[in-house]
Assembly symmetry: C2
Homo-oligomer: 185 residues x 2
């Protein structure tokens, strides 16, 4: 958690996570999060649109990182998707303990689980658009993107489910290789 | 629409679809749907839990059909997933015009789009469970299921997007074959 200390966004995120975990996401208010972080509600709203966004801030960075890696990759459509998956792991896999706590909060709330699925769907659409810009025709662009998001989904789930940090990069590469092997006719 | 005539569930479905399309899903009440179908609200609730379920009734049948085909298939995990995808097309692809109208209603409403994503995620979990029962270990079972649902998603979208009925079975087979080809290392 040391990485969050010293900045308001980090303190707010930490305070929110503690409250969501102890009393539940629905029962927590922005005022309570701000008070626990030692800032005003006004400061909260400078950093996050609402209490849900505390959990999903960073989605744009994640998407940009993946799309940029996809654009710069060599090889076929699935190689490019593999590069996008590899590129997100330093960012997404940097704090196993935090990711586990976040996942526990999301799993306990239907609205948050839905939000997570929508985020995945947007990511898939962004990868498909990136593939089309590489000249990959439809439906191949969307199919490769869907396969990639499937890998992302399962690799991330395995990584957060394990009590010890097995390394998101290794999980992602393993799932990607397995998916390709499984698809062999 | 002839298939729906003569039974209350079919009339209710038709009435709901007309109202959702003309005035929007949110602005339509169960009382209005029932009145238009010439039945009581009580009859509505004998067939559907709420106005959303009119659009999603049949999800269980779809899932059972796919899981059953997966269980009875020969070959590897992806062959079994392919059998599940083929099995759903006679049921899901029987009425192109109805499916297009339904999709237009869903696309126009965020809550319904979320519901559709959740349905897909449940279907993926059911296929993964079916694969585990075939002896496929994790994470392969979940990865093959995710790939299959990705194919399902794209093939269905292409089928409903086209103004003429290109045949869901053909779209599904084409997308499945393309996905396997794309995954080749």
């Amino acid at each position: 958690m040391a990485r969050w200390e010293g900045d308001a966004a980090g303190r707010l995120r930490e305070a929110a996570m503690e409250l969501y975990a102890s009393r539940g996401f629905e029962q927590t208010t922005v005022a309570e999060i701000a008070a626990r972080a030692g800032v005003t509600a006004r400061t909260f709203f400078r950093h996050f649109a609402d209490k849900r966004e505390v959990l999903f801030a960073g989605s744009e960075t994640l998407q940009e990182t993946m799309v940029s890696a996809l654009a710069g990759a060599t090889g076929g459509p699935m190689d490019a998707v593999g590069a996008a998956l590899d590129a997100c792991t330093p960012f997404l896999g940097r704090d196993h303990a935090y990711s586990r706590r976040r996942q526990a909060v999301i799993s306990a709330n239907a609205e948050l689980r839905e939000r997570e699925l929508i985020k995945m769907e947007r990511l898939s659409a962004a990868l498909a658009e990136g593939l089309r810009q590489r000249g990959v025709p439809e439906p191949d662009a969307s199919l490769a993107a869907q396969a990639g998001i499937g890998v992302f989904h399962i690799a991330f789930a395995r990584w957060v489910e394990a009590e010890t940090d097995t390394g998101l990069a290794a999980q992602m590469r393993d799932a990607f290789t397995r998916m390709r092997a499984l698809a062999q006719p």
